[in-house]
């Protein structure tokens, strides 16, 4: 097999990833003698699309199901129900030899560069692993390709990095190695699970810039999982806001940041610090802590904390996403 070449297409409206009614439930407290009595709704019936060359940001607080969604997209976790179609392939039905092809289409970047690189492998082994396990190219070609990728992610000259161990590199360099590994097979779609959140602020910008450049250059689509709205705004074309396994708002980045309609998104945005001591931020008027995702009651997931909650929010099930403006969807009864 030759090295993968998937040239970018300019057709932006072309849908690359289509997720429909994706659900992941985890049984809680299932024992030997008693039947399972509780279900944790990690991801609950979400649908979205990522166009070719687009970056979709998935934003939300800890435990809202962002990472689970990302893991399901690259089939590290099997969904309970729902369908994921990436570049014409139904992810849940891949088996055998097709898996290799799929792995070259969809890759993932992990959060912690200190944990996502095998400490006993050299940088060359790490970056060439996807080529290696998919039997792409011979040793010489792999060497070439790895060197090229390392140079591209800013680890130059590659010869000085290829035969080192991860512990000899800094956090930023490690994350660049992890990026090189994800992109070495030239995937069309990459799930980036907070790749910058573990990095020092000074290094973060560099890695974010790199991600943006690589996206332009390779024409990739990202699903960019983050809890940082500023990062999402910088990198993403569209932002989906998740709360307790549900997408509550999805729209273009500037639209979400500038004109949030869902109470939760508003609260999130008002919590972002402004670098101006004169600005007095409004106190986010959400109540309480995070609601429990275990056996959620059939009402709006945000009901307990919502400042604008009304009777309808309690009596009806969680609202569907509605188009409140062209391309701007939100799940709320009182809009």
């Amino acid at each position: 097999m030759a090295l993968p070449d998937s040239g970018p297409t300019n057709d932006v409206n072309d849908v690359l990833v289509r997720v429909q009614n994706l659900t992941k439930h985890y049984p809680v407290g299932r024992g030997f003698f008693h039947r399972q009595h509780a279900v944790l709704h990690a991801v609950d019936d979400i649908s979205f699309e990522v166009a070719r060359g687009e970056v979709l940001g998935l934003v939300g607080e800890s435990g809202c199901g962002k990472t689970t969604t990302g893991r399901m997209l690259v089939r590290l976790t099997n969904p309970t129900s729902g369908s994921i179609v990436i570049d014409g392939t139904d992810v849940s039905s891949i088996s055998g030899a097709d898996m290799g092809t799929f792995r070259q289409k969809a890759q993932m970047m992990f959060q912690d560069p200190y944990e996502s690189l095998d400490p006993r492998m050299t940088i060359f082994d790490i970056v060439s692993e996807p080529l290696n396990v998919n039997h792409i190219g011979n040793l010489e070609q792999r060497e070439e390709r790895v060197a090229e990728m390392l140079t591209r992610v800013g680890l130059a000259p590659p010869a000085t990095f290829m035969f080192r161990f991860p512990h000899e590199l800094s956090g930023g360099q490690r994350q660049r190695v992890a990026i090189a590994r994800a992109l070495v097979v030239n995937p069309g779609f990459v799930v980036a699970d907070e790749p910058t959140s573990m990095l020092d602020v000074s290094i973060r910008t560099g890695v974010m810039k790199l991600l943006a450049e690589l996206r332009e250059e390779f024409g990739m689509s990202y699903l960019y999982i983050t809890h940082d709205l500023a990062v999402a705004r910088y990198l993403c074309d569209r932002i989906a806001v998740m709360y307790l396994g549900k997408i509550v708002e999805i729209a273009g980045s500037e639209e979400v940041i500038g004109n949030p309609v869902h109470p939760y998104t508003r609260a999130l945005i008002s919590a972002v610090p402004v670098p101006d001591p004169a600005v007095v931020r409004p106190i986010p008027n959400v109540r309480g802590g995070v609601s429990k995702p275990i056996n959620p009651a059939p009402r709006c997931r945000f009901y307990e904390r919502c400042p604008a909650a009304q009777k309808v929010c309690k009596e009806s099930d969680h609202p569907e996403l509605r188009e409140v403006a062209p391309g701007h969807f939100a799940a709320c009864y009182i809009l």
Binding site: A2, P8, M108, F110, D118
Partner: protein, 329 residues
């Protein structure tokens, strides 16, 4: 630099296009070899820091030299008729004889030289200890990694098996096996190796493998497209291996002690070993008076203790290499 960093568009011609020069002058196997040597040297530096480990290593080397002396002595120095460890006999004196000029450690009740027996046995103790330890660790690592990775049925099967093996009293079990079939040193080493492999070492290595299994780099390998076998082989086993190596040292000790015990009971088909020497003294009735016929049991007893202690000490030294938290610096 920008020209070198080709975009995917520039690579359309399948390797025929602009070649990227990695700037590596040597073949990869050579670099890997050098790196292995370098990491070996680094580990050696750490090991050297450990006094216990170095002391143990020196004892093992001394044993090695002592064992290697045997073929030289029997072929060139000693008369095989007199000094053969099993069928030798010295006709010019009473037996058992205390240490004298011709027999530096005396002779046993049937006239065989104790020093020759010790020397002859050393090599075979090495063989036994190392063979059984290698078998136990190789099999144990593989089973532990499999059990940790697959979980479920595989895990339950091997863990219950380990429980059963650990539950059985080790020495009586070996006595039973020894009475069922005549065990020579090879078959004994293999049986011992497998018994240990399915016992405690699997549980320990599985625990370690479980720690490795949940690391994100295992997920990364899966996303890269690695098969289960690839992940076990390339990620889990290399990360468990240092601990395996450590337990190999401790298993040598276990093997030697088991051999000595079983030889003492006389259930092994081994013509001569350190345990056999004590067995000889015991069956001939010379263990009744502590200290009177000390040369019959003390040298072999001392050798068994020292040999086991040496491997244990090397294990302690290796522990510091494997476990960075134990290091002094």
């Amino acid at each position: 630099m920008n020209e070198l960093a080709t975009s995917p568009n520039a690579r359309q011609s399948n390797g025929e296009g602009p070649r990227f020069d990695p700037g590596i002058t040597e073949p990869i196997w050579k670099i890997r070899w050098k790196m292995n040597m370098r990491s070996l040297a680094q580990n050696w530096e750490v090991f050297k820091e450990s006094r216990v480990g170095m002391f143990g290593l020196m004892i093992i080397i001394a044993f090695g030299i002592f064992g290697l002396l045997w073929p030289i002595m029997i072929n060139f120095v000693w008369d095989p008729l007199v000094y053969h460890p099993v069928v030798g006999f010295d006709p010019i004196m009473m037996h058992p004889s205390p240490p004298v000029a011709g027999h530096l450690l005396g002779t046993d009740p049937i006239g065989r030289d104790i020093l020759a027996q010790l020397m002859f046995s050393t090599g075979r103790e090495f063989l036994l200890g190392v063979l059984s330890a290698v078998i136990s660790v190789v099999v144990g690592t593989f089973i532990g990694a499999m059990a940790a990775y697959y979980g479920g049925f595989t895990d339950t099967l091997f863990m219950r098996l380990a429980d059963i093996v650990m539950l059985f009293p080790f020495v009586p079990l070996l006595v039973v096996i020894g009475s069922m079939m005549r065990l020579d040193i090879f078959s004994f080493a293999v049986i011992l190796g497998f018994l240990e492999a399915f016992g405690g070492i699997t549980v320990i290595l599985k625990a370690q493998a479980l720690q490795v299994k949940v690391r994100p780099y295992i997920d990364a390998a899966r996303v890269a497209g690695g098969s289960d076998l690839h992940i076990i082989r390339a990620h889990i086993i290399p990360n468990v291996l240092p601990l395996s190596f450590l337990y190999m040292m401790f298993n040598v000790t276990a093997a030697i002690v088991s051999e000595a015990t079983l030889s003492f009971f006389g259930v092994l088909n081994i013509d001569m070993s350190w345990g056999m020497m004590i067995h000889t003294a015991e069956t001939a009735g010379y263990l009744f008076d502590f200290g009177k016929y000390w040369w019959l049991w003390a040298p072999s007893g001392f050798f068994i203790t020292l040999f086991c202690a040496a491997f244990y000490m090397v294990g302690r030294g290796l522990d510091e290499v494997v476990n960075p938290r134990l290091r002094k610096r």
